[in-house]
């Protein structure tokens, strides 16, 4: 606010004076004080449509004399409240000083019950076969405000049951409550105006405009936004009841944006990825391409067995062999920006012990202006903070190529990268022993003498540092394939075997303690448990001289066209 004082106002919420930030709406204000105002069409990240009418509340403002502007007092000397005779929408009403709000009065209750009944009269009530069941707003509020029986004896409207809106979204129009969230999302966040209503009144039907389809890379957010089971993910449709799903917090590895995600799994199988709200990172959105990444976990080319000289062996034998191969040799380590902060720290430690040369490449693409940034790795900044790299990586391994040409290396430890796709020629690798540690097969892994399968980010715990130097932790969602170990344990075992008197524990808190010790680290004084759900911003000014590819897109700034046009 202008004078810096009036940034909060006092409103009377159900008889209690509470302080709330100025300018927010009644749904948000009530929720800050533990009162839920049910709503469908309102979404904190979209413009206010005010059409579902579920958030109706009673509202009054202190009365003032029109002519003199003086407060009108009642017999107790208190300012009289001019209650508005009709209920107002909580989403479209902003708080003002002294405002009185009733969220549970008979009028409000009656309104909600009325709206609930109306929403259900033409609803197919097919919860038993509906994907949304269990996480459906309509179900939830029907429990709270539903009549429990129907007064509706007429025929229900018939609408299209399975419209293909795009490659990833299927629409059941009969379930749609016409809240327009999906339409507003496409207009305001993605700027891809393809959805709209046709027909009118109760026959209004959501559809794509002629010749268009909902195929943008954010289309699946409409499925998350949909408060009912109308928009469904073609991928997830009819696959799993949501109440069986275990939810784990994780981070999207698609790019340096680091969208916060929730991984839903059952009995060790991931069924879907959904965005997790983080206002500082990704609001409530994520890309469709990011949601598909879980499929890598079970993909055909996943590395499942340790191998030495193309022979399957136990993981411990492979690690043992690595030790023997590396000892006393000129080692080069090709790190990965896909590795977690902790892994990169241990890798750096390993490099120090073995006096290995370090190499790192980046992966870059087009910035889509929303949540897929140019840096297509989740943890490039982690490689800087962990100390593994001090330079900004390029999208090839030129320095490795030079080293190989000068015969400076006997053994190469490659973490996940495909050397042959990074500017290295097959001939250059002649006479070099390759050790490959990664999750998926590639041309380099096929050449490796020692092959160590590792875990995907869904199968382990750690931290990534995103494009604006926010440390974000991801938690293990599912167990890894039988017989495999987390990368940290493998690295730890290697370090232990190579460092003569080293005491090393592969747990995160010990690693964080050690990371904090190195001088000048922005992680000083922070322990792993200090990293909150929504991440921790650290000081990245030490690297401000580097030319990060994201440039202006360091932060996701949502397009707020909302207020300009409805």
């Amino acid at each position: 606010m202008k004078n810096g004082k009036s940034s909060s106002v006092v409103i009377n919420l159900d008889g209690q004076d509470v302080e709330v930030p100025a300018g927010i709406n009644l749904v948000e204000a009530a929720s800050l004080h533990g009162t839920e105002v049910p709503h469908y069409c309102y979404h904190p990240k979209l413009s206010v449509a005010g059409n579902c009418r579920m958030c109706l509340v009673e509202m009054g403002t202190p009365m003032r004399d029109r002519a003199t502007g003086e407060a009108i007092l009642d017999e107790h000397g208190k300012q009289k409240i001019g209650w508005i005779p009709k209920p107002v929408i909580g989403c479209g009403t902003n708080v003002s000083q002294g405002m009185h709000v009733k969220t549970s009065s008979p009028m409000v209750k009656d309104s909600r019950e009325g709206i609930m009944e109306f929403l259900l009269v033409n609803h197919p009530l097919d919860c038993p076969i509906c994907d949304q069941a269990g996480e459906c707003r309509l179900q939830e509020f029907a429990t709270d405000y539903g009549r429990g029986y129907s007064r509706y004896v007429e025929r229900k409207n018939v609408k299209p049951k399975r419209t293909r809106l795009g490659p990833r979204v299927t629409l059941d129009d009969e379930r749609c409550i016409l809240c327009s969230r999906c339409i507003r999302f496409c207009q305001e966040v993605v700027d891809d105006d393809v959805l709209g209503f046709v027909d009118r009144g109760s026959f209004s039907t959501l559809t794509c405009f002629p010749g268009k389809e909902l195929s943008n890379n954010y289309s699946l957010n409409t499925v998350d936004l949909c408060p009912v089971g109308a928009l469904t993910s073609t991928d997830f449709r009819f696959k799993m009841r949501v109440w069986f799903l275990k939810e784990s917090s994780s981070i999207c590895t698609e790019s340096s944006a680091g969208s916060n995600i929730t991984v839903s799994s059952r009995e060790g199988v991931i069924h879907r990825i959904t965005p997790r709200r983080n206002d500082e990172v990704n609001d409530s959105w994520m890309s469709d391409s990011g949601r598909e990444l879980y499929k890598n976990v079970t993909s055909e080319d996943r590395l499942m067995k340790a191998k030495v000289d193309q022979e399957e062996c136990t993981l411990s034998h492979a690690i043992e062999t690595v030790k023997d191969t590396v000892d006393g040799k000129k080692l080069g380590i090709v790190g990965s920006c896909h590795s977690s902060l902790e892994e990169q720290f241990l890798l750096n430690k390993l490099a120090k012990i073995t006096k290995a040369k370090k190499f790192l490449r980046g992966h870059f693409g087009e910035d889509d202006g929303i949540l897929v940034s140019s840096d297509r790795t989740p943890n490039l900044r982690g490689s800087l903070v962990s100390g593994f790299s001090s330079r900004y990586p390029t999208d090839n391994l030129e320095s490795l190529s030079k080293s190989l040409d000068k015969n400076e290396l006997d053994v190469l430890l490659v973490i996940g990268e495909d050397l042959l796709a990074s500017g290295i020629d097959l001939n250059q690798l002649n006479g070099v022993t390759l050790i490959f540690a990664g999750t998926h097969q590639n041309e380099t892994s096929k050449l490796a003498k020692i092959l160590i399968p590792t875990l995907t980010s869904f199968e382990k715990t750690g931290c990534f540092i995103n494009r604006n130097f926010r440390v974000q932790s991801f938690k293990q969602a599912i167990p890894g394939p039988a017989g495999l170990l987390p990368d940290l344990q493998i690295l730890s075992a290697l370090i232990k075997s190579l460092e003569k008197d080293g005491i090393h524990r592969p747990d995160l808190s010990s690693i964080w303690k050690e990371m904090g010790k190195s001088s000048g680290s922005p992680l000083k004084g922070i322990s792993f448990s200090d990293v909150p759900e929504d991440g921790l911003l650290i000081d990245g000014s030490k690297w401000s001289h580097l030319e990060f590819v994201e440039k202006k897109a360091l932060n996701y700034t949502p397009a707020r066209k909302a207020q300009k046009s409805k």
Binding site: R53, G114, G201
Partner: protein, 450 residues
């Protein structure tokens, strides 16, 4: 018994409407002193015109009856954004056909009124939003505007005043909701005419293209010309205090002479209108009910007594025939004068069928934005339709009333009320007929063909 004199019409707006020698050509309009008020307007300051309109007390003729001068005062002039004037010619309230007469028979009167209003509010761009069904009206207006432009009554540097205002006719696509001003604005912007939420989208502040906008009815804008002609003070003496000027009443239904009649506000009662002006009911019929202000206003029962206190404190005790025809009369009787569409029903009318008809209209016209109106209007239509096809149930009257109550006051625009009020009043006043339906239609009035 003294036979009362038939009240005389006072035609201001429709002065030339039925003159066979009068045409909608500009030559005819100019012969009748046309566009002289526009010339007079340019000799005044814009604010002065606004003052005159405010003084005249003229209330909006579209339905809500909000004082036009006040509406102009709310205009946000400080924003620096362009100001728009829109004429709401989407006359779609069932029972209303007054604006049509003006547009078809005297379009230049509207254009002159609009140009004066545009000058008063300093709008550089004006629109006439005309309903799709008036295709002939749109053509007439297009021609009239072309004529006016050729004579420089519209367009660039009007009459050398340095004031420019372009006028565009925009045809709707056939939706009742476009008569709602914010819905109209959305439609004019090329979108679905979903009414906007107020706050924040008050047209006078955030109207067309998020700019300050004034939306006035055809008749209201025509009045602006006449206010200028005689002055606001003098205009306010026509009719009654707070009910100034004349009103065009559109009488339809079971009367001998349905049609449009222009009277001073409060110059006659509903009874005089039906029996004296419109020649009474059809032979052998008795009056059953009247809808006084377009289909969305509440129905009045013929044998009802209306009692209460008027705004000036006097008590009243009216029968249906005593209700004065102005803004406040029908409102005091618990209904409204709305758009001036008086629908007369005699004893041949089955009220449930009439209700079904009205409900069918509102279910068809609901834009579908707000849940209560969208679902409620169709539900009510389905109930009344079922009742009329022989499947009425005893509980239907209560159900209808309950559904209507769940709509009223809970929607973005006034369409919710428009859909709910007919049902509420029909049930309140003719519950017996709704309950009769459930008992096997024994008392169904037989419709006599004339």
């Amino acid at each position: 018994m003294i036979k009362k004199k038939t009240p005389k019409e006072r035609r201001i707006i429709l002065k030339h409407a039925d003159d066979p020698s009068y045409s909608n050509k500009i030559s005819c309009y100019l012969k009748n002193d046309g566009y002289s008020m526009l010339k007079k307007a340019f000799k005044m300051k814009p604010e002065q015109i606004g003052e005159e309109v405010l003084k005249s007390g003229v209330r909006g003729r579209g339905g809500a009856g909000f004082p036009a001068g006040m509406k102009w005062k709310f205009l946000d002039r400080k924003s620096g954004k362009p100001i728009y004037l829109i004429c709401n010619a989407d006359e779609s309230e069932p029972g209303t056909f007054k604006d049509r007469q003006i547009i078809y028979k005297d379009p230049h009167q509207l254009i002159e009124g609009m140009m004066i209003a545009a000058y008063a509010i300093q709008a550089k761009q004006a629109f006439i939003y005309i309903r799709a069904e008036f295709f002939e009206g749109a053509r007439i207006l297009e021609n009239a505007i072309a004529e006016a432009k050729s004579k420089n009554f519209c367009g660039e540097n009007i009459l050398g005043s340095k004031f420019s205002c372009d006028l565009i006719v925009h045809r709707g696509a056939g939706a009742y909701i476009c008569g709602e001003e914010t819905g109209l604005i959305e439609s004019l912007e090329g979108k679905r005419p979903n009414p906007r939420i107020k706050p924040p989208y008050f047209p006078a502040v955030l109207g067309l293209y998020q700019c300050p906008t004034i939306v006035n009815n055809v008749e209201t804008l025509c009045n602006v010309k006449h206010i200028l002609e005689i002055g606001g003070e003098e205009f306010s003496k026509i009719g009654k205090p707070n009910n100034t000027g004349t009103r065009i009443w559109c009488v339809s239904g079971h009367v001998q002479k349905p049609g449009y009649y222009e009277f001073e506000c409060g110059a006659l009662t509903l009874g005089e209108m039906i029996y004296d002006v419109c020649g009474g009911l059809l032979p052998g019929r008795t009056l059953k009910a009247v809808i006084p202000g377009g289909s969305s206003s509440k129905i009045l029962r013929a044998d009802e007594r209306f009692t209460g206190k008027l705004k000036d404190g006097t008590d009243f005790d009216w029968g249906i025939e005593d209700i004065p025809l102005d803004f406040d009369g029908p409102a005091s009787a618990g209904s409204m004068s709305g758009s001036g569409g008086i629908i007369v029903m005699d004893n041949s009318v089955d009220m449930v069928e009439a209700m079904a008809n009205i409900n069918a209209f509102y279910a068809h016209e609901s834009c579908g934005q707000c849940t209560p109106c969208r679902e409620g209007s169709l539900w009510m239509r389905k109930i009344t339709k079922r009742m009329c096809s022989g499947d009425a149930r005893e509980e239907d009257a209560d159900l209808l009333l309950s559904v209507a109550n769940q709509i009223e006051g809970r929607t973005i625009c006034a369409f919710g009320e428009a859909a709910a009020w007919p049902t509420q009043s029909f049930i309140a006043k003719f519950r017996d007929e709704f309950e009769e339906k459930a008992k096997g239609d024994s008392n169904k009035p037989t419709l006599q063909l004339i």
